[in-house]
Symmetry: C2
Subunit: 300 residues, 2 copies
């Protein structure tokens, strides 16, 4: 880790505990793998294994910055990971990106079958809303606000809309604003909502929420640029998913529009802007600074 | 319509107004067809067109029985229809039932493409939870209870689980209890939840809720037996979907296990039991009696 903050290791030391909380919350909302129909429930759990859980960590980091207890963040952290997991299962389907490899293992439709993968994605989405609605640590007003925010981020004006635009854009050369708009929806919306959920858990002021949202938007875009860069320069073993896919699918990417070096510079500037936004939030910014560093340094 | 009740025409006369309310609520929660990405939004609306909207009518009928205003039922009625619509779009996919015809028109993946159909189903599910979370006519506690009930009914212990069992049961001969358990989940859970949502909107007593649930369970099972019967005896033009599918897919059905005549008798007895349950509810049972008659007499 770099040392942009003297307390750079503080959030780091709590990450394992947060990941354990995420695992426990996910385990509690999903029926046991032996529950009838067992093959479906086994596949649901398979789809949730692995992954870096950056979105959950963003919920915990943003919440910690605002002084929220972990209990009040568990459902939110779990819900974004469930939406993320569902989107990966469906994006990998033969009728979509048709991918065999995810998180270094066979995709759900490869490990099971296509019908099961469709149903796994469907029920992971259901569980995301269920975990918010059944939290013991949030009041009803917070639950409703979180469900609205998550639905907006993941629906046709957010993540799913971005995926639709992405598929329609194969073999087209997009402009930079078009590419940014696509990714603000496809990956950005779900990253942004982690900050919004934390703000709801904190009953934050509008100013605080806006500051957090600016952080979230910068991280979301930087994350995607970095993803495009990694797709081009990393190998499949490191990524845990098929490398070089963008080129194979003739997709516009930040490196293809800006050149590799300028894309990397743009991501760098966005991470800096995110850190500036984090420092401007009334709270203890260290978790958000750590997360910006952590994401910036990932190699997959 | 039969005249099991002297007021048998009263709910009937309000059905067009209820269907208009459903259309308005659905129209408001879905982005306009011209919204970017337009192809996706067009396909989402295509998937919601047509259909008998029996589930929405059950919400309105059960709510009317308990004295709930239509405003307090709109979101619930819309949410079950959105879940139903999403499930049809995904069930029809090539990786699932692979069907070309639905509601007398090409299925979504035929009219558009497979990727679009996956995303349409995904976002219809999202919209179902969104419409409950954004209702102006419910308090937050009711919204949360409804979202929990809908998630339970549509998830892996309900509708999606039933679909998984159904697909796993092709070419198997089920026992009658196994077949009933399958359909209690696949179609029954979403019919049952219409009664539960109405009970939540009414802040009903436990006794009332249980009475309504008994009505809902009887209707749900009767509806499915009737579906199996119609699949065997009706033609594709009348059904608006492919007839004779159960036989072609070697599925156990109520007629295949009980014989056609006994299956029809069992449905008849269940409709009678539903009417008895309706008369036992503290309220104005006529809407529920009308609905039982209406469903019993359908030919598609």
């Amino acid at each position: 880790m770099s040392s942009t903050s003297p307390k750079a290791s503080a959030f780091d030391s709590r990450v394992p505990a947060y990941l354990q909380r995420l695992e426990r919350t996910t385990d509690a909302v999903l029926p046991p793998a032996s529950t009838d129909p067992a093959r479906l429930h086994e596949a649901i759990r398979y789809a949730c294994e692995g992954g870096k859980h950056l979105r959950a960590l963003m919920v915990y980091a943003a919440g910690e910055t605002l002084g929220v207890t972990p209990e009040q963040l568990d459902a939110a952290a779990c819900s974004v990971e469930l939406i993320h997991a569902y989107s990966l299962v469906h994006d990998d389907l033969p009728g979509m990106d048709n991918d065999d490899l995810r998180r270094g293992r066979p995709t759900v439709h490869k490990a099971y079958d296509e019908a099961t993968a469709i149903l796994v994605g469907d029920t992971l989405q259901t569980s995301a809303f269920e975990v918010l609605a059944t939290s013991d640590a949030l009041d009803d007003a917070q639950k409703v606000q979180m469900i609205r925010a998550l639905a907006h981020a993941s629906g046709s004006l957010g993540m799913v809309g971005g995926q639709a635009v992405d598929m329609a854009s194969e073999n087209l050369t997009l402009t930079l604003p078009q590419l940014e708009s696509l990714h603000a929806r496809k990956t950005g919306a779900l990253i942004l909502v982690t900050c919004q959920l934390a703000a709801i858990a904190a009953n934050a002021t509008e100013a605080t929420r806006k500051g957090l949202e600016h952080y979230g938007r910068c991280i979301g875009l930087a994350f995607q640029i970095q993803d495009d860069v990694l797709d081009q320069i990393a190998d499949t073993a490191t990524l845990g998913k098929t490398a070089g896919k963008d080129l194979a699918q003739h997709k516009s990417t930040f490196p293809s529009l800006l050149g590799l070096e300028q894309a990397q510079q743009r991501a760098h500037a966005l991470f800096d802007e995110a850190r500036n936004a984090a420092r401007g939030i009334a709270g203890h910014a260290e978790p958000l600074l750590w997360l910006a560093d952590h994401i910036q340094q990932r190699d997959h």
